[in-house]
Amino acid sequence: MSKILEASRAGALAAPARRTLGLGRLHAFVERESVFSWLMLTPPLLFLLAFLGYPFFYGVYLSFFHREVARPATFVGLGNFVTLSNDPIFWQAVRNTILFTAVATVLKACGGLAMALVMNQDFRVKAVTRAMLLLPFIVPTVLSTVAWQWILDPGMGLFNRLLVVSGLATTGPSWLGTPTMAMISIIMVNTWRGLPFFGISILAGLQTIPVDLHESATIDGAGTWGRFRYVTLPSLLPVIFIVTTFSIVITFFDFQLVYVLTGGGPANSTHLMATYAYSLSMGAGQMGLGSAVALSMVPVLGLLLVLLTLYVRKD
């Protein structure tokens, strides 16, 4: 109580116009750290509760119902999950999502490290080069993916035209037409898009490594490889870990790339969990089943993140 009085006296001194006792008290109340904080926090939290919290819990709720578009919902308990466990396409989508996320993330991390090491040298057009290298990451995914669809076109696309013109093949592969090639293609396009994020972030990490660390390693007789292995890489690990975690989450939830490039085909072979959830909900109108697929993404993603953490800890 005395604290409030003190604060109110200070407030009254500061603002002589507010000498009225009621206003002064209100002022002191608002000036309290916790009150001020919660006043600020309430609008954004209400917004997030309405547009994130409510849909989330409603989505969880839906996954326990059999619900088709424009029909009343019936409670089925874990029925949707049982249906899914007997659905080969669901398991294919789970395998695809893990494979897609794991391979693309490893490629992006290795390529990004290489990009950062190349960019970490002194040369003249550095700022412009950095801006150009980031372009794949900032251009709307759908637009660049449509361009890739055209590049991968079996007949007149750039890749197969180049293969034929250069005489390396009489007809190029069907990049999006067979399950294996389609999977390779979506991983390739995702890697192309996400590489700059790794490259530029790791570059920023490289620039924070103190020069004297390298110097003392050189004095101790370390060569280029030794400096990289014992100075650069350990200093970069925290940055790589954070960027990788972030990228795993984004890649895991990727929807638009597969939706545009293959639509989950051929024959459902490239469905990710996100695109399968969408096609069940919107295509087949099975909203409960679709929500169950989407909800299953949470533990799978959790598993991937735990594995990553364990792997880093072990090192």
């Binding site: 407030g11 500061a14 603002a15 002022h27 608002v30 750290e33 916790s34 001020f36 904080s37 600020m40 997030l48 547009f51 994130l52 849909p55 409603y58 839906l62 190349v118 960019m119 040298q121 040369f123 801006a131 150009m132 290298l133 980031l134 372009l135 900032i138 251009v139 709307p140 995914t141 637009l143 660049s144 449509v146 361009a147 055209w150 590049i151 076109d153 007149m156 750039l158 180049l162 013109v165 192309w192 490259g199 972030s201 990490g205 925290p238 954070i242 989450v249 929807f255 638009q256 939706y259 545009v260 996100a274 959830a277 969408y278 909900s281 989407a294 909800l295 993404m297 949470v298 959790g302």
Partner: protein
């Protein structure tokens, strides 16, 4: 001798790998541009050199602007991105400021809760979200995406801004309050102006993400006149199995240019935003 050695080292250690990275990053865009400038006769002629343009023509651009609502989509995208970015910056800073600079009960828990929202799949949210938008009678209006994009952007912006807010020393605020300023005044007149680079980073990042968003736009905007560029290009330029590659590439290129232009002005802040979390974290 030494000169030759470093010259070689520069070539193989710097210029050649750099060239490879730049070519990989840019060739889809040059292929986009080349395609959009060729006539259909040249585009689908297997004997023509795929890398050269024999008769450059703007026919695809003219068709794109005449036959589709492309310019409306560009305007919609810009409007949506600006409004969503503005709402997100406002709500995000209201969330980040107390979390970064105030001591109160539940702060740690709240910070974790905000981070965890990243792990909620958008595909779980969209069915209920469509329900919500329908009940608010916002289907096929730009307000639908202006309201839903901030749910994707606010947690991210709050997280990014927290890093900036933390860097301003607490003494500045205390000094201002000793001089008689209220908390609100100390915040708006002293702390927030110092964090302007943070707002620019978060803003440009949110802006590019909002331009990029696809799933909610796909669900909520089915009328051509309210579509954004990504959804318009995929929904109306791809017609069944027949692809209009020339027009599609013209649309993809024109749709990319505004983002690329805005980004090129703010590239410094964009990179700062991109790397802030990674390096500081």
């Amino acid at each position: 001798m030494v000169g030759e050695l470093t010259w070689r080292k520069r070539l193989f250690g710097l210029w050649l790998p750099l060239l490879a990275f730049v070519v990989i990053a840019l060739f889809p865009f040059t292929w986009m541009a080349a395609t959009s400038l060729k006539t259909n006769a040249e585009l689908y002629n297997p004997k023509a050199n795929p890398l050269a343009i024999q008769n450059p023509s703007l026919v695809h651009y003219i068709d794109l602007l005449k036959e589709t609502n492309f310019l409306t989509w560009v305007a919609n995208t810009m409007l949506v991105a600006v409004v969503a970015t503005f709402i997100s910056l406002l709500l995000g800073s209201m969330l980040a400021y107390p979390l970064a600079r105030m001591r109160f009960r539940g702060a740690a828990l709240l910070a974790i809760a905000v981070a965890v929202t990243y792990l909620i799949p958008q595909t779980l949210l969209f069915v209920p979200m469509a329900d919500l938008i329908g009940r608010m009678k916002l289907g096929n209006t730009l307000s639908a995406v202006m309201l839903t994009y901030p749910t994707l952007l606010v947690p991210f912006i709050a997280w990014l801004l927290m890093g900036y807010f933390k860097t301003v020393p607490k003494e500045l605020e205390e000094q201002a309050m000793i001089d008689g300023a209220s908390r609100w005044r100390a915040m708006t007149r002293i702390i927030l102006p110092l964090c302007l680079p943070g707002f620019l980073s978060a803003g440009i990042f949110a802006f590019t993400l909002a331009q990029n968003e696809f799933l909610y736009a796909l669900l909520f905007l089915s009328k051509s006149s309210v579509r954004t560029v990504p959804i318009g290009v995929v929904g109306e330029l791809i017609r069944g199995d027949a692809f209009y590659w020339g027009q599609l590439m013209a649309g993809a290129l024109l749709g990319s240019i505004p983002v690329a232009l805005i980004y090129s002005f703010f590239v410094k802040y964009y990179v700062a935003g991109l790397t802030a979390g990674a390096v500081k974290g």
